[in-house]
Symmetry: C2
Subunit: 149 residues, 2 copies
């Protein structure tokens, strides 16, 4: 497994753990110098917190780990295109590169709708790479919602 | 003092407390049925957390208070136009009305740039009222940054 594949695999593992806990299956990891420094999954239901998205929790954990408000040089790997709230957090944290698996036409804020990074108000825009691990990430979400119907 | 004025005054009190603590002076309160159920100020430096904006912390506290991921029927009063991250959080929390004091051409995500609520990806858009308490909120920010130069 290449480093790149294993980082998205780690994010997918987090997404699977979210599904097992009854949360919408999205997972994220933050990587610095080739090493995962934070991993998180959706916990909105568990924490009764609409902002407890995988990316938001991973960013917070990484900042605690580094003792820094900024994650300069760090990469975020996430199984779903970030929503506007998480895209704003990614900009605020100065994440260097964003890798996401599945696109999110319904709620995404990066490649659709508000396109948070495409405005000067973002102050910082990461390099963005989409699609790696997309099929698996999308299948997790589809199965999760199908089982709930 | 009318109810409306006192809610923004309470948000301005939070902003003043932020300045006194060395944080960018922004404050917020959440109101439900005429009563403040959560109040917060910026704590990014204190918490080493780039997402610890006043609105984000107020939303989280209100959700804890109500035991609900959704703040249906609640209003958010904040001294500065929310950034894209906070606008996304406001949509996710289903805040009914958003009252903000000063506009934020540099970092705002409501009336400029990404205009988070103006896209179907937001799923929910609050009623929005800007400008009440604007002069005082803007002066707090101006004085804070002037003292740091």
């Amino acid at each position: 497994m290449t480093g790149f594949t294993s980082f998205m695999e780690a994010a997918l593992d987090q997404a699977r753990a979210a599904a097992a806990a009854g949360e919408v299956p999205v997972g994220a990891v933050i990587v610095r110098e080739g090493r995962i420094i934070a991993a998180a999954r959706n916990r909105m239901r568990e924490l009764t917190d609409p902002t407890a998205h995988a990316e938001m929790l991973a960013i917070r954990a990484a900042c605690q780990n580094l003792g820094s408000e900024r994650l300069t040089g760090c990469d975020l790997w996430v199984t779903l295109e970030p929503c506007p709230a998480c895209a704003g957090a990614i900009a605020a944290a100065r994440i260097a590169r964003l890798y996401y698996a599945a696109a999110d036409p319904k709620s995404g804020g990066v490649a659709q709708g508000p396109r948070v990074f495409d405005h000067p108000q973002a102050h910082h825009s990461p390099e963005i790479y989409g699609g790696l691990g997309e099929a698996e990430a999308a299948a997790l979400l589809k199965d999760f919602f199908a089982a709930r119907r």
